[in-house]
């Protein structure tokens, strides 16, 4: 049973730089696998370790995703192979285009029974690509998946938490599951795995390799800016600690929040 785990490689949101004019830049950001996707990779690897089968990591994006450090990091966390669909037309690709590209890439792979996604990408967190790929493949598709077990009859037992309700479901294969981050704790790469990573195969596909001649963007990004700042009174209290505290309490009461 081949398990495909889809990952998105993005600039690290922690490295976001907001300019004085509210401009937003990721030029100095480190590119890495999304932190929400690593639990999905771990879940896929544990399933493969338990029931046999191979995990293939799949990602799509511009040439910036194709860095040796990123490839090695993914391949040292249990994935046997890595497929990268690399094309600069995928710059700022919307969920619709990404879903089309991932669908075509998955169809090119053989004997895939299960596709796993994280709960959302680290940069956009729209929580859409996974469910769109599921629909495009025509497979059973679920999000908010908390636990996955393989039953004997080649079906899955899946647990979901949907708002305040725990659901236990039998899911036929093939299926697409978007898992939450607390499904399991991603492993730290071991020295042995990192060394083995450099020996594993990485497939680099272009859009035409997966039968896509061109992409028509479904969304135009007009502007990216720092979120609006609420205007604040900026009233600095003064005097002794007691005076400042009583002034604060009176102000809060006047504002109706105490």
């Amino acid at each position: 049973m081949n398990i495909v785990v889809c990952l998105k490689i993005t600039p690290d949101p922690e490295d976001l730089e907001i300019g004085p004019d509210g401009s937003v830049s990721t030029t100095h950001a480190e590119w890495k696998t999304g932190s929400f996707d690593l639990p999905a990779l771990e879940a896929g690897v544990r399933l493969a370790e338990m029931h046999g089968g191979k995990v293939i990591a799949l990602s799509a994006g511009t040439s910036q995703i194709n860095q040796s450090k990123v490839r090695k990091d993914i391949l040292s966390r249990g994935a046997e192979e890595l497929v990268l669909v690399v094309d600069d037309a995928l710059k700022d690709a919307s969920t619709a285009e990404t879903a089309l590209v991932l669908e075509k890439a998955i169809r090119k792979l053989t004997d895939v029974q299960l596709v796993l996604f994280g709960e959302g990408s680290a940069d956009l967190y729209f929580q859409q690509t996974g469910v769109q790929v599921g629909e495009r493949l025509g497979w059973v598709t679920l999000n908010a998946v908390q636990d996955v077990r393989l039953l004997e009859n080649e079906a899955l037992e899946v647990q979901r938490i949907v708002e305040h309700e725990l659901q236990v479901l039998d899911v036929p294969l093939p299926a697409v599951l978007c898992v939450t981050s607390d499904i399991c704790e991603p492993r730290l790469a071991s020295m042995r795995e990192i060394l083995r990573a450099s020996k594993k195969t990485v497939f680099e596909w272009s859009l035409s390799d997966i039968g896509i001649e061109g992409l028509t963007p479904s969304v135009e990004i007009v502007k990216v800016m720092a979120p609006p700042r609420a205007s604040r009174k900026g009233e600095m209290l003064s005097g002794s600690v007691e005076e400042m505290v009583s002034a604060l309490v009176n102000n809060l009461r006047k504002d109706g929040v105490l």
């Binding site: 907001i18 937003v24 879903a99 996974g130 236990v168 479901l169 009233e235 309490v249």
Partner: protein, 318 residues
Amino acid sequence: MEIQRQIFIFSEDITLVRELIGAAQVLAEGKPAILSALVIGGSTSVEQMQNTGVDRIYRLDTLPPDCLVEDIFQTLWGITQEIKPDYLVIGATTAGRLICGRLAARLNATALTDIQSMEFDAQGLLIRHMVFGGGAQRLERPLRQPVVMTIGKGQFEFQAAHSEKVAEVIPVAFTPPETRAILRERRELPPVSVNLAEAKRVVCPGRGIARREDLTMVEELAHSLGAEIACTRPLSEGLGWLPRERYIGISGAYIKADLYVGLGVSGQVQHTIGITDARVVVAINRDAEAPIFKQADYGIVADLYEVVPALIDALRSA
């Protein structure tokens, strides 16, 4: 005759449907539009939908017990083939996200999620939503029709409909999807321990708190304020003494509390992004230069080990 704009809304969460109607009114742009909605359930839910400005109510009685609300996707798909909507507005619940994705994929449409605001300009619709875990906001324009969107709570208000329009009710049958998951068991879970997004008051310790034991003082203040305890990203402001769900900021919680009190919080942007919607922000910090003071309504430059006990006493005696 000008072609009427077709807008379709759905959410299994009835409290969210009213806000979706508010969003639909924005999408109608004051021009003639036909607003349709799918409702699951008996006549009471249909009644609630009347006189809200909705023109057409598709009614689905009940779902088989081993079905998920997400399985109405097939039925929804049938409706969209009939009315060819320009906009599909889905409530941003877990089920709503799944439905939105499947509809967008099958319609080869544009999917826009967790929309915060919408407006029209000469070229058409413009929407705003958060990216980078809230670190930035993106203004986008859908280039493909139809547009499938999800909208969460608290983004759009419902304006009571002025006309006494009675919606046409059209019953629809449930058509199960060809292959689907079988729901075997369903259990209600106790609500999550801390829901910072809904908390009315929040107390937030930062790097100024020297030791884990001092959190008891913070808990005492939170107790006397009836507030939840939050914290800042582990390193930049705190030490990971509190669980991850209590982080405010990028990839953490966004609070809309009435009162936020920062104790020794220096105010790095990755944190303060999460408190912009708080009504009143109080900052207590020894360092007069701390950036938090520029984003606070009230600032106290003093040692929080003196201010907090004094504040607890003031609250207790008041």
